[in-house]
């Protein structure tokens, strides 16, 4: 006990946790002082989220000790942990989609008088909270109608409203725009001054270096290194995470685009409920064989809606024409799109990408079942053979194809969605935020994969909020602003600054 430093408000000592077939954490120690931001980094599946779930009482069974203010604690459930002043924003959002923003933020703590909810107070408190986050949102808005970025902000608001002494943020900025990230950082800095202790998990190392005081690196469930941020460097952290050097530049690609394979003319998308609200207005674009087209824009600029429309997923509220290899194609449903050789790696893997309760194998073969298996009778062995192949190609970290998709780490779930679409052998691949929540090493793999696919003659349309990614990978970049095309840049003239300026309307 003598070596315990009393200035730590949280100490986790020798934490181990195993799942069937995986040792997720192996004697991990981690500590936290009041008024500091301690970053936790590591590859996909390194065990970051698992460590936080133990702290949050989600996994009551583990080995090791947790001390809060020097007192030994053992959280048996989520409530125990919350009562001890720990607030956690998980990587996988956990909002009640059909409730309002205000209800979600104060869920379980609704202000009430003798059992009746005090709605006015609820909405007023929410308004104040949202204002602190620079969010212009009606507290009565139903969360389902918000994009994933705004949902993330609601989760942050929810955690802030608990006024906890310890705040954990697991990948908070994965779905945020740059300006939202700035707002968040301003708030985190203020909280730090107020003495709140924070654990910050992110794959965006630039942010980690900007915001954190200390960095702990995990690899395969073990602590590689823990040191002050000022004493280390990005490349050293990366080397610690992946156990080897990773190049941080975008892989070169000799691009030689062929003929136009996919063309969309005058695509207009209307809102589902308010049909006079236009989400995407008269957008035309074309992609060539072997070409990567980037679509940049701010959150809410209509990027995802455009992709959804191209994929036939917004049937009934889209006008415009699509041509594939010069021929008019009727795409009224995702099934039509797949038949025409279009694949779509969707944003928001939990909502659109995966059937979380099912095995990895069933998930990755879902879109290509007829091709991989049999038209009607399924052939398990054939599927498994194809599945094993793509799993090892993408280096998805899992004990077996029969593991449940929901048990994968966030980044590996993202790779699983990608695997699903690669198995459809598409000619045109739409990618919506394909590297969200993916670690640096895996990002490089995905970049290389995109290049390889392009070299094989695929046409690629990439939407990403990470501008360097769009600019570095794509042959051409289209910028969307408020649903309309605001500009187009060829590879050589595209820089992050120019694209950003165009997206903001400067």
């Amino acid at each position: 006990m003598s070596d315990r430093n009393d200035s730590f408000i949280l100490e986790m000592r020798g934490i181990s946790k195993s799942f069937p077939g995986v040792r997720a954490l192996d004697r991990v120690s981690f500590d936290l002082r009041a008024g500091e931001i301690h970053a936790l980094v590591g590859e996909n599946g390194a065990g970051k989220t698992t460590l936080m779930k133990i702290l949050g009482g989600v996994y009551p069974q583990y080995e090791g000790e947790i001390y809060l203010d020097g007192q030994s604690e053992r959280f048996k459930n989520v409530r125990d942990s919350a009562r001890s002043g720990i607030a956690i924003i998980y990587q996988e959002l956990s909002l009640v989609l059909d409730m309002s923003v205000a209800e979600n933020i104060f869920l379980g703590r609704l202000p009430h008088r003798s059992g009746f909810v005090r709605w006015n107070k609820l909405y007023k408190d929410t308004d104040e909270l949202l204002a602190r986050l620079n969010l212009r949102l009606d507290p009565r808005t139903v969360v389902r109608n918000l994009g994933i970025g705004q949902q993330q902000m609601i989760e942050i608001a929810k955690a802030l409203s608990q006024r906890s002494g310890i705040l954990v943020l697991d990948e908070p900025t994965a779905a945020l725009t740059d300006s939202e990230t700035e707002t968040l950082f301003a708030i985190l800095n203020k909280l730090r001054d107020e003495g709140v202790a924070m654990i910050y998990i992110s794959h965006k190392l630039k942010e980690v270096f900007r915001i954190s005081d200390r960095i702990t690196t995990l690899r395969d469930g073990r602590v590689v290194e823990a040191c002050d941020t000022t004493d280390t460097s990005e490349s050293r952290v990366i080397a610690g995470m992946v156990g080897r050097e990773v190049s941080r530049v975008f892989p070169e690609r000799a691009s030689a685009p062929g003929e136009v394979i996919f063309e969309a003319r005058d695509i207009t998308v209307r809102d589902r409920v308010l049909s006079d609200r236009v989400l995407v207005e008269r957008v035309s674009l074309s992609v060539r064989r072997g070409e990567a087209l980037g679509i940049a824009g701010l959150m809410g600029a209509g990027r995802s809606d455009l992709l959804m429309a191209l994929f036939g997923a917004h049937a009934g509220r889209v006008t415009g024409e699509i041509f594939i290899e010069g021929r008019r194609a009727r795409i009224a449903s995702p099934a039509d799109a797949i038949r025409h050789g279009i694949g779509f790696v969707t944003e928001d893997r939990k909502r659109y990408g995966l059937v979380m309760d099912q095995t990895i194998l069933k998930n990755i073969t879902l879109a290509a079942l007829r091709r991989l298996s049999g038209r009607f009778i399924t052939r398990r062995e054939r599927e498994a053979a194809a599945g094993n192949q793509v799993i090892s190609d993408l280096r998805i970290k899992t004990p077996s194809l029969q593991s449940i998709a929901g048990s994968l780490s966030g980044g590996n779930q993202q790779k699983t969605v990608l695997a699903k679409w690669l198995l459809t052998a598409p000619r045109v691949l739409l990618l919506d935020e394909p590297t969200r929540g993916i670690d640096v090493g895996a990002k490089q793999e995905i970049y290389a994969l995109i290049n390889r696919l392009a070299a094989e003659g695929l046409a690629i349309i990439l939407v990403s909020s990470e501008l360097p990614e769009v600019v570095g990978l794509c042959d051409r970049v289209i910028v969307l602003r408020e649903g309309r095309i605001a500009g187009e840049f060829a590879r050589l003239e595209a820089t992050s600054e120019k694209v950003m300026q165009c997206a903001m309307g400067g």
Partner: protein, 363 residues
């Protein structure tokens, strides 16, 4: 599930001094379970897709009524009256499926409406009277037995099929480079079902032979299991129940599959109604009441999640057998009606509760 069944059988065998497991009662028990079991196969598909069908009992009532009316009033023959009954149930199932899938009316509401409306229809048609079945051959669908020799022949054929399928899968594994599975697993895969088949036929033959409804159930269950586990159709049902959006974006035609699940449910309700009517020998206005609840309970006891996306045909059939065992055993012991209901209710909740606790431990 199997363990629970064995325990219940052991208890009843003990408390009834072995009467429960006697050849005659065993045969009756199996026969009793067939109607619920057939319905539960269809119900499974609906529930797995994330819906529910509350109209099943009324469907059995009206489809049985159609068969009886066709024979008694219209003088139709065996095949035609069966066909009329099946077609009625199939069409009603398809109609309900259409309302759910294409007009987005919640299944609970559509089929609750169905529960009332179809029951009303059969009461109206029959004017409240019980209509007797005319054709003896029709009755034998519910009451008949298969000759012992035929039963043995079927058992032999089944064993051959089991061996064939096991070997074929083994070859397929090897061809796709998964190495040969252990000899032990292969042997188990052949021996366990084979022994089960032979033992069952032997048990039935000790009394009067395999009951016709049991044979029908076996065919339905095998076809159902193959459909949900071995076809793209089945995989899509599970995907829809697990995450409708993800399924749609993966190219699954959600509406068509939902419609199909309800249609299959309808057709199976038609089949069940024929067995039901044939066994009772007449169609009463309140025939099949509460069967929907038995079928849902059988699914849930058998491990089906009411949230959709999880469950199996084997589980549902075992669940049905479990329910029938309770009914049968308690009747043998002369429990009064009210006591039977109480016990069944408690066991239903307990069975699911134990299952949930077990699942939490693993998760």
């Amino acid at each position: 599930m199997v363990i629970a069944l064995v325990i219940v059988w052991a208890i009843f065998a003990y408390t009834t001094d072995g009467v429960f497991l006697e050849a005659r009662n065993f045969s009756n028990l199996m026969r009793q379970s067939t109607i619920t079991a057939i319905l539960s196969v269809g119900m499974l598909m609906v529930i797995v897709t994330g819906h529910i069908d509350l109209s099943v009992g009324s469907l059995v009532g009206i489809a049985g009524g159609v068969a009886a009316v066709a024979q008694a009033w219209l003088g139709w023959g065996l095949e035609l009256s069966i066909l009329a009954s099946l077609a009625t149930a199939l069409l009603i199932g398809a109609l309900q499926g259409f309302l759910v899938a294409y007009l987005n009316i919640p299944a609970f509401i559509v089929t609750l409406g169905g529960l009332l409306a179809w029951r009303g229809a059969i009461k109206g048609i029959s004017q409240g009277n019980t209509i007797p079945v005319q054709i003896p051959a029709f009755k034998s669908i519910g009451q008949g037995y298969i000759a012992a020799a035929v039963g043995i022949a079927l058992a032999i054929a089944a064993v051959i099929a089991i061996v064939g399928v096991a070997l074929w899968r083994e070859r397929s594994r090897r061809r796709h480079g998964f190495g040969s599975g252990s000899q032990f697993r292969l042997a188990a895969r052949i021996l366990i079902p084979s022994i089960l088949v032979v033992a069952l036929v032997w048990a039935f033959n000790r009394y009067a032979g395999v009951p016709v409804p049991v044979l029908i159930l076996v065919v339905v269950a095998l076809a159902g299991a193959m459909l949900v586990e071995g076809t793209t159709f089945g995989r899509y049902l599970y995907a829809i129940g697990g995450n409708t959006d993800a399924a749609r974006l993966s190219g699954v035609n959600v509406r068509r599959h939902t419609l199909a699940a309800f249609s299959i449910m309808g057709a199976l309700a038609g089949l069940a109604s024929i067995i039901y009517t044939a066994r009772v020998g007449s169609a009463a206005p309140d025939a099949g009441r509460l069967l929907e609840l038995d079928a849902i309970a059988a699914c849930v006891i058998g491990g089906t999640s009411l949230m959709g996306g999880r469950g199996s045909v084997q589980g549902a059939c075992l669940g049905a057998l479990f329910m029938a065992s309770l009914d049968n055993g308690m009747s043998l012991e002369n429990y009064q009606d009210f006591a039977q209901d109480i016990v069944k209710g408690i066991i239903l909740v307990a069975a699911v509760g134990i299952d949930m606790i077990g699942r939490r431990k693993n998760g």
